[in-house]
């Protein structure tokens, strides 16, 4: 199996919404010398679960290793490599560009029409373009805007979801150890 050609893989991890979980995942990538392209994390419709989308540049074998190592983390509930299946992926970018003359403003409008992008803020000097699209489209919009003059740029990193009825979820309902006797205690600083 030709295994040495790195390629982009999208891994989706369902994790417990607990302090330190992001740190555990990040530490894993550093420790095992895996290359992260982007990592996004956010809450899901279940308050006890968060979801990460991790884009990695890896060989097929390394992507598998990353998958298995993620599953090994106690707080990681499930992992899917959505690159292997039909999926939807989106990256969001905010791009601040020069817009201080007619040429740049016209150029901007024309370029944005050809992308799922829009101008969300415009002033006499600069404009902010927002795009939500597949990563390669975001890349190509950025390339087109470069000649006009990019002043600032921020991206969320890719989020992804497998298509169809293969659902990445967990039946787990957290058991709250907080019993009826619990009093919400404020932290006190004792002498150490």
């Amino acid at each position: 199996m030709p295994d040495h050609k790195p390629k982009k893989y999208l891994l989706v991890a369902l994790v417990e919404n607990k302090p330190g979980v992001l740190n555990r995942v990040a530490s894993l990538f550093r420790r095992r010398n895996f290359n992260v392209d982007s990592l996004t994390v956010g809450r899901t419709h279940k308050p006890h679960l968060s979801r990460m989308t991790i884009a990695v540049d890896a060989t097929r074998g390394d992507a598998f290793k990353i998958h298995m190592n993620l599953l090994k983390l106690i707080n990681v509930v499930d992992v899917a490599n959505v690159s292997h299946e039909p999926h939807v992926s989106r990256d969001l970018a905010l791009i601040k560009v020069r817009a201080n003359d007619a040429e740049s403003r016209n150029g901007l409008t024309l370029i944005c029409e050809r992308y799922p992008a829009r101008i969300v803020d415009i002033g006499p000097e600069v404009a902010i373009v927002e795009i939500t699209a597949q990563e390669d489209q975001v890349e190509s919009l950025i390339d087109e805007l470069k000649p006009i003059g990019i002043l600032e740029l921020v991206r969320t990193g890719v989020v992804a979801m497998g298509r169809g009825v293969r659902i990445l979820d967990s039946d787990y309902e957290p058991v709250s150890p907080i019993t009826a006797t619990s009093e919400a205690k404020s932290y006190e600083v004792y002498s150490v």
Binding site: E16, N23, S27, F64, K65, L73, P177, T179, E188, Y190
Partner: protein
């Protein structure tokens, strides 16, 4: 019943069956130490350095199969545990470390003796906890023990702020571990996997079993033996796999790897099937991966999915509990013989015997190999040996054959000097009726010799054998082979170990001639409490064979035969 956090800790330890814990008190863990006075059934061993506590817990765990417990205070107490935790992690040893932390309100303020110990130990624990809500505490302790001992065992650390130890709540013991949605240790193999493995086993003409630590951790010793005997497959052992198969069994061909038996390494390179059971293809076992067992199909059974295809690409990878998988596999295994293959391996062994120093008359010299082999002889081969790291460790692996599981304890993965002596003490608590020998070098022993005081205070019957060659022997060997004999920073001054032991009130003896070894064993056996014996051996010893790091497994540096010149 209202209990303080400290009492909850001890109550939970008691219910986990903890009988002994190893630790060192300090400010942030004092509430728990105070509560110990109300739990006399859990014996606390006061160590002299927290690293010793972690190694003792590790030794206890490896000798007993139960979870070992170490306890320390915040800051330096916690960071001193780190080497011991990393050691347990690399060798899949189940320990739970409990550390005190500064009060919750002080966390993050660089308070006195504050260290982010969950951050520090994150990559070297199987899991760790910082308890920020006392109601979580019973759950956390229950989970910690469960995680430590289940699946692929490993260390778990629980960091408990001081104010959580003193707060009180109504105590409810969680009977079940129910909060781990992301943790389900694998159990059995699929029928398809079993079928694929059986096919390879039945096709093979030159199969070999590589047995690792997992054989013992999963309790598959009997199953391994059955497989080997029925299909007449030779068994090579990893360092931590020693004891998985009796070494006097005709199918056991010895340790593999950098200092393994030449016959094992040659057999691996010529095999047409590797059956890797509960081992992880460490670089010390494989040598050059590009040339490793090139002609062999490979079956790999491991409980850790991330080990499959990590270093060596395999044909059949099975993720599961080895014992369960073996129980699935065995009914399908047909009886066969591999007489020709086994004879070939026997020939390699005969060649090795010709080279062996143990079969030579060395006159007045005393060599490490001879000491170890004599220790084996005079202890009837029945002692539990706990080694440190270095030449003596490899000599132990070569010259002290073990017949029982968990009778040899050593730091394999991390190679932690200083491990042997404290781990031996931990092992003694686990197996009080067994004869325990700590076999250590002069270098490693000096890293944790402060625990002599612990041994004396607790009157722990451990026999310490120091193989003293006045060098950091293994490093010196590398310098001799690979650094043109520039022995820099390896010649080592040591104290007079006999006088040192006496200063601690520990009986001791120095052995300089081979005919004294028997007497020294008798002395150790007949003396109450810890005993130290220093064996002064030849300084410039070499452990043969040796596969240089990264070299092909069959490109070993061998001990010259009599009459041959050295390389």
């Amino acid at each position: 019943m209202k209990l303080s956090g400290a009492e909850i800790v001890l109550e939970c330890l008691k219910r986990e069956g903890v009988e002994v814990m190893f630790g060192y008190p300090g400010g942030a863990i004092l509430p728990t130490y105070d509560a110990m006075t109300r739990y006399p059934e859990i014996h606390h061993v006061l160590v002299r350095h927290e690293q010793g506590a972690a190694h003792m817990a590790d030794g206890y765990a490896r000798a007993s199969g139960k979870v070992g417990v170490a306890i320390a205070t915040s800051g330096p107490g916690a960071t001193n545990l780190v080497t011991g935790i990393a050691t347990a992690m690399m060798d899949s040893s189940p320990i739970v470390c409990i550390t005190g932390q500064v009060t919750r309100g002080a966390i993050g303020s660089d308070a006195f003796q504050e260290t982010d110990v969950t951050g520090v130990t994150l990559p070297i624990t199987k899991h760790n906890y910082l308890v920020m809500d006392i109601h979580e505490l019973p759950y956390v302790i229950r989970e910690a023990f469960y995680i430590a001992r289940s699946g692929r065992p490993g260390p778990v650390l629980i960091d408990i702020p001081k104010d959580i130890q003193t707060d009180k709540i109504e105590f409810v013991y969680p009977e079940d571990v129910i909060r781990l949605p992301g943790y389900q240790p694998p159990q059995t193999a699929s029928d398809k996997e079993i079928k694929a493995a059986l096919e390879l086993i039945h096709e093979a003409k030159r199969p070999i079993i590589l047995a690792g630590h997992g054989v013992m951790l999963s309790g598959a010793v009997q199953q391994l033996r059955e497989l080997a005997e029925r299909a007449q497959i030779p068994v090579a052992l990893t360092l931590l796999g020693k004891g998985a198969m009796p070494e006097n069994h005709p199918l056991t061909i010895g340790m593999m790897g950098m200092h393994g038996e030449a016959a094992s390494n040659l057999a691996i390179q010529e095999a047409d099937l590797l059956i890797a059971l509960g081992m992880r293809f460490d670089d010390r076992v494989t040598g050059n991966l590009k040339t490793y067992a090139r002609g062999a199909k490979k079956i790999h059974v491991d409980i850790d999915a991330s080990e499959i295809n990590k270093n060596v690409r395999v044909d059949v990878g099975i993720v599961g509990d080895l014992r369960s998988v073996m129980d699935q596999l065995l009914p399908g295994v047909e009886g066969t013989s591999h007489a020709e293959w086994l004879n070939r391996i026997r020939d390699w062994h005969e060649d090795a015997d010709e080279r062996d120093i143990i079969n030579r008359d060395t006159g007045d010299e005393l060599w490490g190999a001879q000491v170890i082999n004599d220790l084996w002889k005079f202890t009837g081969g029945n002692a539990i040996t706990v080694t440190d790291v270095g030449q003596h460790q490899m000599l132990e692996a070569q010259y002290y054959p073990h017949q029982r599981p968990a009778s040899m304890i050593t730091s394999g993965g991390l190679g932690t000097m200083g491990f042997g002596f404290p781990a031996a003490m931990g092992a003694k608590f686990a197996r009080p009726d067994e004869e325990i020998w700590a076999i250590v070098g002069d270098g490693g022993f000096q890293m944790t010799l402060c625990e002599l005081a612990t041994a004396k205070q607790e009157n722990i019957k451990v026999n310490i054998a120091i193989i003293n060659n006045n060098y950091l022997g293994m490093v010196r060997q590398w310098q001799e082979f690979f650094y043109e004999q520039r022995y820099h920073a390896t010649p080592m001054f040591s104290p007079d170990f006999v006088k040192l032991a006496e200063a601690y009130g520990i009986p001791a003896m120095r052995v300089e001639r081979r005919d004294q070894v028997e007497e020294s064993v008798a002395f150790a056996r007949s003396t109450d409490g810890p005993v130290l014996i220093e064996y002064v051996v030849e300084a410039e010893d070499i452990v043969y064979p040796m596969v240089p790091a990264g070299a092909d497994l069959d490109k070993m540096i061998r001990r010259p035969k009599p009459g041959e010149s050295a390389r």
